[in-house]
């Protein structure tokens, strides 16, 4: 039996309509996450099957109307207007929340006017019944002239019937909802020639959004601009009048097909909200929730991260044992495997963070958290959702920056991404712990508080302060035409769909591994080269010299000293010496310069680099501290790691963007190397100035 051509089905609906759950039901795990061209918006596609037929199901971003405000809404419009695009649908599957039918009807009415076959799925039937709604589905179907079905996507009810109806209706175009001649420009035929579109309403929508639409190049935009000016077309008036007219028709329609019993409206959601949105209790609960996220990312991810670390260490050791000691073995073990390990080790933190955030989203709590924190965050040019990024950043900036995608305002999102790396992440902790001992002694304050612990806390506070200050300055000095708005719908609470949570965290992890991962791997290999090779044959001479002095008794000591000498004469070491004049004002020498270069791969590499530089017998912090305490300046005879120098180095790590993974993810999320590099330069500049002040003036 032959298999018919694969259909394109666009799954469209407003936020909180159960679209994601429906998508997961229809496709199972047969999904793929990609990217829409030119924007950092995930593109989810999946394969839906029915009998011998297959269809590509495209989960378009949630939107309230086809007059887009944000980029994700624009993606929906572009997909529906671009007949030549790979995503142009053969049929639209529209999903609405049966308990809030009116909310989705505006969008449905617009879709009906695009002349594309349409199936209407009324989801969350159980919720509608609980709220006392009774919808005359037959009457609705007669009035709209399109198939209308009930589903409960969470339980899987109605899914099989939905598949059948979709595949049976791919050629049936229903009547348009509203093609009022008074709202379509009289010069529409002329506009259709200019835009290249064939549908009157599609053309009207394109005229309202041509400046930002991906459909048109600059030349076409200018042509449309001329036409609009000539005809004095006002897009705002057109949009408002169109929506008002549709809503009027929708209200009349719903009056005839929807009844609601007159019982009390107070639902469980309302009762929960009395506590969760309370100014005092709600805020306390929010703090607890955020603390649990923070703790969760640290503690739940720790064990798998340790296992990954051990695993890669074991694989590396095994390969070093069985493979010949050649350049390609070292590239494989110290370059590629280290790079891959550096990517994989983030997976537990990303999975835990996005799993927890997805739980909050699925339950309906996230909008409440945004509501409670919005006032404070907006003072700094941020959004309530930025708080999730900040708290997550205490564990790791990588998933924290990824979580900023939920912020729809571009400026707020960019500011959040820009400042999040200032938050002291878990990778900084080994550096802080190592150096704190040189800044303050290990004693207590008031008999209770550990002085070094207080110093660590103040470092975290310093990072948070830098983040808020930078946000404030960026907010004040970078103006944008885009208005910042909240206008946040608070959906009913519901039991999270664990399938959705798992699918979400798999998707986010894939995005990180396959996108940012590429950049991290390349930089890892470059860093490996810089520390493994040096100019001339000095490295080889050092090895030969070491072989002449090595014995069974002094083997370990000689090998450690050899490692330190090779590092000094490597390209990284040479770079450290070249950089020394620039970093000397901060109190740093070339050895610290090497550590700054190598810890660019990951901040915690600072500790192992110091171990190598000072020929430490192990990476144990106490051992390294002891070796560092023994270091003296050969010219002055003074201790190398004075309080001033240690403090300067601590401050540098508080502010500097010493993390290639963060740069990679910023590039991915902003689609811009310019922003990632500007951020790197800015944070390095702040770190430099702060360290200079700390070294020269504070002690």
């Amino acid at each position: 039996m032959s298999i018919a051509k694969k259909l394109n089905i666009a799954l469209i609906g407003s936020p909180n309509s159960g679209k994601t759950t429906l998508f997961n039901q229809l496709t199972g795990l047969n999904q793929h996450v990609g990217n829409y061209d030119g924007v950092t918006i995930d593109k989810k596609t999946g394969t839906m099957t029915y009998q011998n037929r297959e269809a590509k199901l495209i989960d378009l971003p949630g939107t309230y109307s086809l007059y887009p405000i944000a980029e994700d809404e624009r993606v929906v419009l572009n997909s529906l207007l671009n007949k030549k695009g790979s995503d142009y649908p053969d049929i639209i599957l529209f999903v609405a929340n049966a308990a809030n039918l009116k909310k989705g009807m505006l969008l449905l009415s617009q879709l009906m006017d695009l002349n594309i076959p349409l199936v209407f799925c009324l989801n969350m039937k159980d919720l509608a019944e609980k709220r006392g709604y009774d919808i005359d589905i037959i009457g609705l179907q007669e009035k709209l002239q399109i198939p209308v079905l009930y589903t409960n996507a969470k339980k899987g009810d109605g899914i099989d019937a939905l598949r059948k109806v979709i595949f049976d209706n791919t050629r049936k175009i229903g009547s348009p909802f509203r093609m009022s001649p008074s709202r379509i420009p009289t010069w529409i035929q002329e506009a259709k020639k200019v835009t290249g579109l064939t549908n009157d309403y599609a053309t009207t929508l394109a005229l309202c959004d041509y400046q930002r639409s991906a459909l048109f190049d600059n030349a076409k935009r200018q042509e449309i601009e001329s036409l609009i000016q000539e005809k004095q077309f006002n897009k705002i008036v057109t949009e408002v009048e169109d929506k008002k007219a549709r809503l009027s028709d929708i209200n009349a329609l719903l009056t005839s097909v929807v009844t609601k019993d007159s019982k009390s409206n107070i639902t469980i959601s309302d009762k929960i909200d009395m506590v969760l949105t309370h100014n005092v209790y709600g805020t306390l609960i929010l703090v607890i929730v955020l603390f649990l996220i923070f703790q969760g990312v640290f503690s739940l991810a720790k064990y798998p991260m340790d296992q990954i670390d051990l695993g890669f260490g074991a694989i590396t050791a095994y390969l070093k044992g069985v493979l010949p000691d050649t350049w390609w073995q070292r590239l494989l073990t110290d370059g590629i495997l280290t790079g891959i390990g550096g990517i994989v080790i983030f997976i537990p933190q990303i999975a835990v963070l996005f799993g927890l955030v997805a739980l909050l989203e699925e339950s309906g709590y996230m909008p409440r958290a945004v509501y409670l924190s919005d006032k404070l965050m907006s003072k700094f040019g941020l959004n309530g959702r930025s708080l999730v990024s900040f708290i997550s950043g205490v564990a790791c900036a990588v998933p924290a920056i990824m979580s900023a995608r939920s912020i729809s305002n571009k400026k707020e999102r960019l500011i959040t991404i820009f400042v999040t790396p200032f938050i002291s992440c878990s990778a900084r902790l080994p550096v802080y712990v190592t150096l704190a001992a040189f800044v303050v002694p290990e004693e207590s304050v008031l008999g209770i508080f550990n002085l070094q612990g207080l110093v660590l806390f103040s470092l975290y506070f310093l990072g948070f302060f830098a983040a808020l200050t930078t946000s404030y300055l960026l907010h004040k000095y970078f103006k944008t035409e885009d208005k910042s708005y909240l206008t946040l719908e608070l959906p009913a609470y519901q039991v999270p769909s664990y399938k959705n949570v798992v699918v979400t965290l798999i998707d986010k992890t894939k995005i990180f591994v396959f996108n940012a991962g590429k950049i991290i791997l390349i930089i890892s290999i470059v860093l490996w080269f810089l520390v493994s090779y040096g100019p001339g044959d000095k490295m080889q001479q050092l090895e030969e010299q070491a072989l002449t002095t090595i014995t069974t008794e002094n083997h370990d000591v000689v090998m450690r000293d050899l490692a330190a000498q090779k590092l000094e004469h490597s390209y990284a070491g040479r770079l450290g010496k070249v950089m020394e004049p620039a970093i000397r004002p901060l109190g740093f020498d070339w050895k610290i310069g090497i550590a700054l270069i190598t810890s660019f791969a990951a901040r915690e590499v600072f500790v192992s680099t110091m171990a190598t530089i000072y020929s430490s017998a192990s990476d144990d912090v106490k051992t390294i501290q002891q070796r560092m305490r023994e270091q003296v300046d050969f010219v002055t005879g003074e201790k190398t790691y004075t309080r001033a120098r240690s403090f300067s180095l601590l401050i540098f790590y508080v502010f500097a963007m010493q993390c290639m993974s963060t740069i990679a993810i910023v590039r991915r999320e902003t689609n811009s190397w310019a922003i990632a590099i500007a951020q790197l330069l800015f944070m390095t500049g702040v770190a430099y100035v702060a360290s200079y002040v700390a070294f020269n003036y504070l002690f």
Binding site: L247, D273, Y371, D374, L376, L486, L490
Partner: protein
């Protein structure tokens, strides 16, 4: 002078009359916040933060700046 929604207190109920900023009107209409709908203020966040309002069976969080756009009676 027009009365705007930012002046409302908790438990105040009113009817939305119009909007005085055309650039926000489209957004409000998309969400079902439309003239003629009944609006009740349920909660005001700390430090004069956003309000939770119920309109037509739906609940929204709106900032002061957004409520100033909604003319009510």
């Amino acid at each position: 002078m027009d009365r705007t929604a930012d002046k409302l207190k908790v438990n105040d109920t009113c009817i939305i009359e119009s909007f005085n900023d055309a650039s926000f009107t489209g957004r409000f209409l998309s969400l079902g916040i439309e003239p003629g709908a009944e609006m009740t203020v349920e909660r005001i966040a700390m430090f004069n933060g956003p309000r939770i309002v119920s309109i037509g069976g739906l609940r929204f969080a709106l900032r002061q700046e957004e409520l100033k756009i909604i003319v009510v009676r």
